[in-house]
């Protein structure tokens, strides 16, 4: 058992830390202010493109991609600490072309895309020239149960026809968003896990309409945002289907493991950032004659946050390692971190908000936004309750088999 990172990771961490400190950190608050002050937040400010250029030059680009030619070629456990560093910043993931949902979409195309799809869509995504969205959950049903999905992707000769309404399509508000991955029901006769297809939809296809951008707890999260998107008789060649009709569940499963690990590691970085703001505030602000760190239970809260973050980090790294080992235990481990990490980050952010007083609620600090990201991830990629159900099913599988068949 060795908790040391690999040499590759250590080298990349050193370079990434230096890049964040020198290039990104000084531009974060100005970026945040500038975006707040702009009339139209659905823009890419020039500083982002400038930083992306530098990141690419320095090889801090596509770090997430297991492909050594087009990305960093890292395993999950090797990429995880880099994702944590990215998560400490509000723009670093985007700057290093490691932002969701593009990362997941790129992985899908890298694993399952046709050559044509790779050339037309994966290449510019990997180059950071375009952005993408993922259209899965629907407003009218409980999407925690994927079999509820109502949108359709019906084969019609050489074409596939899409209909339905999706929401929480993250990234669809981005001015460079050109590709949507749509998931819909193709064949109700097939077995439960082969009824759905994923289809790559060019953003400008007739019948695709962004109905509105959704605020999450008051935040639009521009410029990517989250959209409600309607698909009305959207016609595409059948070759737009990714990996073949009926393969959506298999693709989703492959996408979700690493995707959840990325989300969780970024959240750990977020929690570290938030805790460091809380500590700074706690030592600088004075009330009743003492730094507020020394009042009431504040030190215990800081200690509890440190414990929670360190436990969560080890947990996610372990899940990443299990995934790398193709361990059957990875399934439960990924569900575990998906429950534990957002709850941890939400709690740390709540503590940090309280430590900041009224400032914590404002947009003077990235705390309210951090809280919201963590809160949203208790629902996105499967609500806590569904993951707890998976974990319990695995745990109970060894007991009283007779009674449990079919449960």
């Amino acid at each position: 058992m060795d908790f040391e990172h690999s040499e590759r990771t250590r080298a990349l961490l050193a370079r990434l830390d230096a890049f964040i400190e020198q290039e990104i950190a000084p531009r974060e608050e100005p970026y945040h202010r500038q975006l707040l002050a702009s009339d139209d937040p659905w823009v890419v400010l020039p500083v982002i493109e400038e930083l992306k250029g530098k990141a690419r030059e320095q090889g801090l680009w596509n770090l997430f991609l297991p492909d050594a030619e087009h990305g960093a070629g890292l395993s999950n456990v090797e990429y995880a600490p880099l994702a944590e560093r990215l998560g400490r910043s509000i723009i670093a993931s985007e700057v290093c072309n490691c932002n969701a949902p593009d990362t997941g979409n790129m992985e899908v195309l890298w694993h399952f895309g046709s050559d044509e799809q790779k050339q037309r869509w994966l290449a510019p995504l990997l180059a950071g020239e375009i952005r993408s969205a993922f259209c899965m959950t629907e407003p009218q049903v409980a999407s925690s149960d994927a079999t509820n999905m109502q949108a359709t992707a019906i084969l019609d000769g050489e074409e596939v026809v899409l209909n339905g309404r999706k929401w929480w399509s993250t990234g669809v508000g981005h001015p460079k968003c050109e590709a949507l991955i749509f998931m819909g029901l193709t064949d109700t006769e097939a077995d439960r896990y082969h009824q759905h297809s994923m289809v790559l939809v060019p953003r400008d296809t007739p019948g695709v309409k962004v109905e509105r951008m959704l605020p999450a707890m008051g935040f639009l999260d521009a410029p990517g945002g989250h959209g409600e998107v309607s698909f009305t008789d959207v016609r595409l060649p059948a070759s737009a289907i990714i990996g073949g009709a009926g393969q959506a569940f298999a693709i989703a499963q492959a996408r979700l493991g690493p995707g959840r690990i990325h989300h969780c590691m970024r959240l750990i970085g977020l929690a570290e950032m938030v805790l460091s703001l809380a500590c700074a505030r706690a030592t600088e602000r004075v009330a009743f004659g003492k730094p507020i760190a020394n009042l009431g239970g504040n030190r215990e809260r800081i200690a509890d946050a440190r414990i929670a973050i360190d436990q969560a980090r080890l947990h996610v790294l372990h899940a990443a390692w299990l995934l790398d080992q193709n361990s059957p235990a990875a399934l439960g481990a990924v569900s575990q971190i998906k429950v534990a990490t957002p709850n941890m980050a939400q709690g740390v952010a709540d503590m940090a908000i309280q430590m900041h007083g009224g400032g914590g609620l404002s947009d003077d600090f990235p705390l309210a936004a951090a809280w919201t990201v963590a809160r949203a991830l208790r629902l996105a990629d499967g609500p806590d309750e569904v993951h707890r159900g998976v974990i319990a099913r695995l745990e109970l599988a060894a007991y009283g088999k007779g009674k449990w068949a079919g449960s």
Copy 2:
């Protein structure tokens, strides 16, 4: 011991319930949509003025004011259940002229205002013709310790001169906001509780500037909002001081008891509204073949919410009754409810958000806004930690007196 409401309260409850059901409820969601859709949210939509007229006609007006001539003449424990009903709606408090911070400001003027102040400011406030704000906390210091206050209200001959920067001045964004109550340091030589003054400042006095409107967890809470306001050499006649120089602490104390009870009772109404949305969703949405109420721990969560709300309601009613009795126990009781109620409401809202899936984060439901109101009240009117300190001090006062002197 009798938990029955007074006859007056029961009669008013019946009328208020009918008014909310018939007049307000049907207009709530349309109001919400219309405000979201408007380019400028800092407006009073006509429906509000229309409803205010009806409320006033029906005597559902100024219910909070203990004065039987200008208000309903109710004790705190009599008004409390009405405040709960108002809190179930996002506009009813405003419609019945029972909205914070105007209620507190009206009480201050009613108790401590000069005849001139009453005529010029209290009368139109009671008539619902103007709105007001309260300018106390400051961005540069920990305002949980009121002695940190840096703004000044210096006497200069017949005048008082105000300087300083305030924030979280709720209501200052309202188009009808015409009066600000400002609190500042007048006399550093006086004893600790007589150094500060409250000054009534017409909104259009030179030197008063709303620097910006602050979002709370992403919400601007228009049209009242929360402002950061600078006061630069603001000159007013000394008669603008309320209740005499150095009286601010005494006034604040008188204001805060009933004010905290109102906040808490409205929060209980809010929690009831939020729980009812959760129950409706839990019975209507289906996943994995069952209404989601029947999945996992959802029923237990609903039960826990019911327990928490009912305990909080009794707690607040008891604190109101102690205040009505001029009991010395009221001080601790008000601090207790001020800790317990917002935490309860935040928890219920978090549960309801989770029960709604992605919808819970959106503005399709008033859940994210409800969460934010509750969260903000863990800081407004004294953060949880300060109130816990008060409660512990009172609790420990009976023990080991020798050691505790001066603690």
Copy 3:
């Protein structure tokens, strides 16, 4: 709404407080030490009988009984604060003949007993001359679901024959325990709520055997204790059935409402006692140069305990009042307090243990025992989960009726 106790209650409270202070308090710790030191803990120490005599003389006797002739004739809400006072002491309930399960058993006999049963059993119970036990839950099944009950009470001509094994029969170890109330299945053909009977069993009837006394979290709770009792072909005249065959559920329901309120009010007294020990320790013990009250989050913990106790007290009083009013809301309210109060008391006791360091785990303080009482009551009289189920069912009854029928 009036939170003042009735004049009768206030008068009894004054006398009871004086009696506890003067007579009981000085004898508590010696009693505890003497019982610990005795070779056989299944004894009634003389001090108990002496104190019982005094309590009876002073009219502080059978305070729980709504009958004005044989008891204090108080309503539930009037008795509740007296029960709280009794709960602050480890012997006062017994001294005032207000101890469970005798209270519940006396109420059952008072309500449902035949004249013969009243004369033979109720009279000496009311006189404090004998003790009793209640035999309901069973080791082999989940007794949270009463329909699981396997013990039988079969009519055989003029006789009833009992078979089965019961446990957690509290009080059965008491040297004066002479009567058991046994619940068993009589008629599987009757509807679900009329299948069971309660039977009054003299302790010395052939076939009744106390198999063992059960420790609860290590505590035997002598001299009453909790027994596992087997019933083997126990034959009694049919007149031993209480209230008629098939009436057990109706009797149990009538018994459980007030019984749960008594339990909860005693727990509130217990929590007050425990908090007061924590406060005393927190001010007396010094570590790192400060009384431990001033270390870390200890004051916040004390504040949270105060909040929790006060909320629970109001909650239980309200439930008692609803029961007195025959309100349909009493059902849910009693389930609510049954969940909330033991959890509250367990938490306060855990805090007090921690505040006492190693001493908190020992039997030098009544903290470990208090914790255990509270913990046990999360299971006794229905586990938390079952009560939460009741509360949720009531809460959801108003929603989506169609879907919920039969749930």
Copy 4:
């Protein structure tokens, strides 16, 4: 980063698992019953000695000792998973000579003992022929602050004289307990960390008296137990001092790191055992027509327990690894696991008790005892609050240095 155990550990795990399954598991419940049934619990039942012999034969002996000659020669991270396995059983630690406090005492002697001490005391301890106790905390002061210690170890010529009263001296009730390690104040003039000495005291030295055995939450934990021990003018040659006068703090620090890791890993094993009982019960017991696993929030509770255990295990393994690396981060990490692990185990045990109904409180299952072990470890080896203070101090050290000096 590699989460795989070392080859040595894997080999030992395989043998230990087999030994526990074949030799220990079948004897656990009979042992427990036999001990409960014996009149005198302060005995070593023959089965223990028999199993010890087998363990020693198979080389499953002194696994904790880093010395390859006398023990297994494992690093902390290598021993940790073995300690977890031992913790799943109530007797395995003793059987494999890996029980506290003997392990810590053996380590102290191995590191700091003189040749004479090693020969006379370490040898028979390593051989499992005698047992030992550790006498540190005192009833009259808050022992969380070691500088409060009142017991003295005064040098008098060639002798050292011990006076004072210790409690929670675990193991002192064991019939084979022959050696006590006593800690007392030697030199109040020395600097704060060099005032105390550790002295090896033969159990039968005149002046040593076990005043009483202390129950922990009702449990005597026989046959080792926890004693209150008085030392009255206990005279020993100065050579009985371990590692030299004034070295007690240094020795304690060296002892506590691995000791806390062992405790935590055993707790993780305990939590696994407890969770497995909960799962078995949840699938076997039926209420309301379903296995109780399928009622209410029970599955979510099982999932939360799994998450909590897995996080804690990784956390402890990481702390062990840091200790092995001599990392400066080990200090904080050990405090973190010392807070987090007992709280986790207490929570899992509380859940398992609830899942077992009344049985969970009884001694039919090792649940109440498991809860008590976990609860006691929130106080033993430093209460939670003290460790949180250490963690917060380390966390805040990087912030606002100027202000924090001396805090």
